[in-house]
Symmetry: C2
Subunit: 330 residues, 2 copies
């Protein structure tokens, strides 16, 4: 079953992903530009802004916002119930939810950006090019790069916990919990440690999947679930979107491995062919190119199936983002 068939099966009207993305990207860029590095002294703020602004596909923020919109569409009755329990009027609650989702979108991007800064450092991947620009440690020195990454991680949690009464404390705490787990040793940092320890080893597909589930998948899935947490949803919808996030997260990495082989550095905006050169296990080295491409399509189908099972009225943005992840060329 291919992605095209699944899209037909979910039978939703055509969706303008480019327009939808541009609207939300503008909001995210503006918010990041406003918030990041604002009160950082010396050159730290400059390094933090360099690491975050004007670059990146912003896939994680878009997943947060798409998931938030998917659960908000038609959640009117639940909204009213939550607002009444929290002693707020519904408009304030909705404004607080919107604000929480924007903050969550920016926070996951800060975690992603910090991980790239630290990954690129000489003691890790020693990369000098990222998104077509010199990496942070090349531009600002290693010490500033280390601090900028550290500062970005802390700032992600600061963004999630504003003194804003419209954002329920339970939402703030849940978002911090989700992001901390996805970023830490049972998530992204843990996956990177496995990655470090796996160079030159022959991994099984299970081991490779586990590494990527932590290294890349955890934060992508958390992006979806943080969007969910900002809104109001049923347990069934939460379960379905968790499945969607897991499939999407894995598909992302399979496609990354494929692009490392088939794309060139100029298109990728980073050094191509690095995995093979550094003898890293990948889906392509393990399965071969064509089976890896077929596996990506299978995972895409799983993502679409999960959306169909969610019971949510409009999941077109999530569906389109999954298509984009698998069919991207960079």
């Amino acid at each position: 079953m291919d992605a095209g068939m699944m899209s037909a099966k979910t039978a939703q009207p055509a969706f303008d992903l480019a327009g939808w993305s541009q609207h939300h990207l503008d909001r995210v860029e503006q918010a990041l530009g406003h918030w990041v590095g604002e009160d950082a002294p010396a050159r730290l703020g400059e390094a933090m802004r360099y690491a975050v602004l004007d670059g990146g596909k912003r896939l994680r923020p878009l997943l947060v916002l798409a998931a938030y919109e998917a659960v908000q569409n038609g959640a009117g009755d639940m909204d009213r119930e939550v607002a009444s329990r929290a002693g707020m009027d519904e408009a304030a609650l909705r404004a607080g939810m919107d604000e929480a989702a924007l903050r969550a979108a920016c926070a996951v991007e800060l975690i992603h950006a910090y991980s790239l800064v630290h990954d690129d450092m000489p003691c890790m991947d020693n990369d000098v090019l990222r998104r077509g620009k010199p990496t942070v440690h090349v531009q600002f020195g290693e010490a500033q790069a280390l601090l900028a990454g550290d500062g970005l991680q802390a700032f992600a949690f600061e963004l999630l916990t504003p003194e804003d009464e419209r954002i329920l404390p339970a939402v703030q705490a849940t978002l911090c919990r989700q992001l901390a787990r996805a970023a830490g040793s049972a998530g992204m940092a843990g996956g990177q440690a496995i990655d470090l320890a796996s160079v030159g080893l022959a991994l099984t597909q299970d081991q490779l999947r586990n590494m990527h589930r932590l290294k890349t998948g955890a934060l992508l899935q958390a992006s979806v679930m943080m969007g969910v947490a900002c809104g109001v949803s049923t347990a069934a919808a939460q379960k379905a979107l968790a499945d969607y996030g897991a499939a999407l997260g894995l598909a992302f990495q399979v496609v990354d491995d494929i692009l490392d082989v088939v794309a060139d550095s100029a298109t990728l905006g980073k050094t191509a062919g690095k995995d093979a050169a550094s003898d890293k296990p990948t889906y392509v080295s393990l399965l071969g190119l064509a089976p890896a491409q077929a596996h990506a399509q299978e995972l895409l189908a799983q993502a679409h199936d999960a959306l169909a099972a969610s019971g949510l009225a409009d999941t077109r943005a999530l569906a389109a983002l999954a298509d984009m992840v698998v069919n991207r060329s960079y």
Copy 2:
């Protein structure tokens, strides 16, 4: 006015700091040993545990717990009011507060430990000895040290946000907010950036104070205020304990600068004389040794004054910790 006079002035019965500390240190060590690195793969968990366990004075956890106890003593009526508002019985609320304080104590220590791991790396201070042991990057390699630090920071926020209904979401969110601000670019990471940029420069006392207020003071003050946030307190007590934390935080750094000059490496458990050797501005280089010592005593007096102004019934642990910070020999 010296510390002895201040202690007399507050007129509280003698306090067994050693016994009090040992009781709480046992709890903190046990909790850290239970929690840290538990679910971290590869050698990451080992590096995280190495960085955190069996070492350090644990000043920050003790400040959290002392501040928490100070506000809890005699807060019975307020406890009942909060419990009633939260729809919990008072025993569950108190158990949740105790658990939150222990988690906060461990979380600030994780942030402190991560900052030491990253500080010691070759691109920062390039230190090979910490608490009498090889530093993390010497023991595990730079890449693992970088990841261990990153993982410890994330885990601090995970510890603060358990799925434990006894700990009010508002408390969880407040603790994350306080810790993120203290750790990030407007706190510890920002202070380190100023420190990096200040080597070889002639700072004024205001500039030096600002650097240390961020670099060390913010997390020490946050330790106090996180303890406060776990309990129930008046606005006046909160203001007084914030003043106590600010004075203590600055005193800590003044004494650190003094010890770098007067102590030897074996006593310190780290390399002595580094500040002068690396041409870093310090309170001793700026004021001279004797005036720096006098300044530490002034700050201690301010800390005691703040406790006296707090209106709290028993602040002996906080008072004794301040005395210890200023009169320590390592």
